[in-house]
């Protein structure tokens, strides 16, 4: 069996295209790791400065911490050395008046509008602002609790709406009242989260190119008649093909995850594992989990996504008679949810599309956005979170799909 698996792996990797693709994808992944969001190479010096600045304010977000931040910010804004001259101040005020702001508004403007440009753009000021924003963590959580409760009571019908509302309120309420969020430098964890968005183009593309030939090539190369007439051609061979596919998929995924972790740890560091994940803009996670736990949860779901994606590719390969067709169909089906934006459709159709997208293998492969919002399903009188339902469904579908693929090849008739 091991020998057969080895040869199946060899078949997938021996093609020059596969080897070239591995190198290209690893290079692309590496390049993205080394570049920042502005498109320039990450500077160790900048990272160190940010780490030093943010570490000053590292700690649990509580009343004392919040007070300290507020006072520091106030002190900065009231320091005359940080403010523009009187003449410049008048110019700024006149500018606001010309834009239509009232005199009353202009008179009440605080010193934020009169800080010197070098202060406004300074790292220390921006970090302080970031910390100030973080100090409102519990307020935002409470707001979300109220908003979600209202939303589900309004949109849901009867018991369902009430159950979902209560669940959302409970989760966000916990964040608002009982959870202790931590602030600190966590650039490494944010980078790791960002790298997940590349998974479809790195891991997904690799799997589509290499695994799509696992069965379809036997048809197109006419080796199916030889294989199926051997002793193990209808049993061990199929297990070996499936095994080799999953070994390759998980192996490459682990390689990319390992590469990301190592480079990020080396460049950015892994400080801030205990810091909170919510930014209350793009990430409204109802989960009271810090960066490290979030990282692990995302990887578990991403791994399930790799398995699900591999299963679908295998099924397409076994059903298709052509390697090229398998690759094209796999690419379209699996990558379109990330490459093409689905138009906003209202009503039941829109909701169906929105729900269906959650179950797409490529979304599972990315996984980060599963933990950024509240979504629950009302099943048999209970609220089950989407974050449990989607992976379970993916696992069950993977098992089903692999079983179908097994039987399809086993029953394949050589007719041409």
């Amino acid at each position: 069996m091991i020998t057969i698996i080895q040869y199946e792996l060899k078949k997938m990797l021996i093609q020059p295209l596969s080897l070239m693709l591995i190198l290209i994808l690893l290079a692309v992944n590496g390049i993205v790791l080394l570049f920042n969001s502005e498109g320039s190479i990450v500077s160790r010096q900048d990272i160190e400065m940010q780490r030093a600045e943010q570490s000053q304010y590292a700690g649990a977000i509580n009343e004392n911490w919040t007070t300290s931040i507020t006072e520091k910010l106030k002190s900065l804004k009231e320091n005359p050395d940080n403010l523009i001259s009187k003449d410049e101040k008048i110019k700024v005020q006149q500018g606001y008046l010309q834009r239509g702001y009232t005199q009353e508004y202009v008179d009440k403007m605080d010193n934020t509008n009169f800080l010197k440009p070098e202060i406004l753009n300074s790292l220390s000021y921006n970090i302080l602002l970031d910390a100030k924003y973080s100090s409102e963590f519990y307020d935002y959580a409470q707001q979300f609790s109220d908003m979600q409760g209202e939303l589900y009571r309004r949109e849901g019908d009867g018991k369902k709406g009430e159950a979902l509302a209560s669940k959302a309120e409970a989760m966000y309420g916990y964040l608002a009242q009982d959870y202790i969020a931590h602030y600190g430098y966590n650039l490494g964890w944010l980078k790791l989260s960002f790298m997940q968005s590349l998974m479809p183009f790195i891991v997904g593309l690799f799997l589509i190119v290499t695994i799509s030939t696992i069965f379809s090539k036997e048809y197109s190369q006419k080796t199916d008649s030889l294989l199926l007439s051997t002793k193990y051609g209808k049993s061990r061979l199929i297990y070996a093909k499936l095994g080799a596919s999953f070994i390759l998929a998980i192996g490459f995924w682990i390689t990319i995850q390992g590469m990301n972790l190592l480079v990020t740890a080396g460049l950015f560091g892994l400080q801030g594992a205990e810091t909170y994940v919510q930014d209350w803009l793009f990430n409204n996670s109802p989960f009271a989990i810090p960066q490290l736990t979030n990282y692990i949860a995302v990887r578990i779901v991403s791994l399930i996504g790799v398995i699900f994606l591999t299963s679908i590719i295998i099924l397409i390969s076994v059903k298709s008679k052509s390697s090229f067709l398998t690759t094209v169909i796999s690419t379209i089906l699996l990558l379109f949810p990330v490459v093409i934006s689905i138009p906003n459709v209202g009503g039941i159709v829109g909701r169906f599309i929105s729900e269906a997208m959650l179950f797409m293998p490529v979304r599972l492969l990315i996984a980060t956005d599963y933990f950024t919002f509240f979504r629950g399903y009302y099943i048999v009188g209970k609220v089950v979170l989407m974050q449990w339902v989607v992976p379970m469904v993916a696992i069950l579908l993977s098992i089903l799909v692999v079983s179908i693929a097994f039987k399809t090849f086993k029953r394949h008739q050589v007719e041409n």
Binding site: I4, D224, S225, G233, K234
Partner: protein, 288 residues
């Protein structure tokens, strides 16, 4: 050991590729002659359990081969027509891969592969990629893989395609040497492939078994239908259009024709002993 084909039929829509084919194989070399599209490949695929028949069955010692499953395929060696290969594999990889699929342990497999590659003359180039091989080399590799598990049932579909006369002669010797105690079924267009080594010949036409007999008796059915005569060169075209001319040889100012015909083609024609080629032409005259 007995391999029985019992009213085997394969139908695709309105087309019947194999039509109630029944025959019993025992140990020995069986030649299967038939024109393109006569159903030989379809028959062989059903015998290899890679194509489900529409009706009928293949029985090994009374048990359906589908029921036997792995136990049947363990005894089987198969070389399909236009067999596929992995271009980037070496011959050595290819043989070891199929050895593992046929259930040979690693050490046994290596020794067996070495032996077979030597036998077909590919051992020296075993590490080269198959895509660099000529057609004849690939065919020899195909023959080698069919023999890996020392099969008790060997099914070869057009095995000598791409082989030159010397290689075909070597192939005949390999089959003869390796056929003791085995059921060998060999389909071919090349009559000489089976003429000298087959114990029994079957003629397959339009999916049906048209004729079968031992090699020395198969031609009895046309013993009165093969003629030899000498004609003037100007008359050759006329005979070509009206009769099956199996051979034409210039002999001085005359041309010696060998004709297959139920009717005497000419008063000067002399009845001669038929050979397998005459028989093939007689059966497939419509397709010639």
């Amino acid at each position: 050991m007995e391999l029985k084909i019992n009213k085997l039929t394969k139908q695709y829509g309105n087309k019947i590729a194999v039509d109630r084919f029944s025959v019993t194989f025992t140990e020995g070399i069986n030649g299967l002659l038939g024109a393109n599209g006569s159903g030989k490949t379809t028959l062989m695929r059903m015998m290899c359990d890679i194509l489900r028949p529409t009706s009928g069955e293949v029985l090994l010692d009374g048990v359906n081969i589908t029921t036997l499953d792995e136990a049947y395929r363990e005894l089987l060696g198969y070389l399909p027509q236009n067999f596929g290969y992995y271009p980037d594999f070496s011959a050595w990889d290819f043989m070891l891969y199929f050895s593992s699929l046929k259930g040979l342990p690693r050490l046994t497999a290596e020794n067996r592969c070495k032996e077979l590659l030597n036998m077909v003359g590919l051992y020296e180039v075993r590490k080269k990629k198959i895509k660099t091989y000529s057609g004849g080399m690939r065919q020899r590799l195909g023959i080698a893989q069919a023999l890996i598990n020392d099969p008790k049932i060997l099914i070869l579909d057009e095995p000598t395609v791409g082989l030159d006369p010397k290689e075909r002669a070597k192939f005949r010797n390999i089959i003869s040497e390796n056929s003791t105690g085995k059921i060998v079924l060999l389909s071919t267009h090349i009559v000489s492939d089976v003429e000298y080594i087959a114990d029994r010949i079957m003629i397959m036409k339009e999916g049906q078994l048209s004729q079968q007999a031992t090699t020395d008796r198969i031609c009895d059915s046309i013993k009165d239908f093969v003629w030899s005569l000498q004609v003037a060169p100007n008359d050759v075209d006329s005979y070509n259009s009206n009769f099956i001319v199996s051979n034409l040889k210039h002999s001085g100012e005359q041309v010696e024709l060998r004709i297959v015909s139920e009717e005497r083609p000419s008063e000067k024609a002399v009845n001669v002993s038929p050979n397998l080629e005459d028989l093939y032409l007689y059966h497939f005259k419509g397709e010639v």
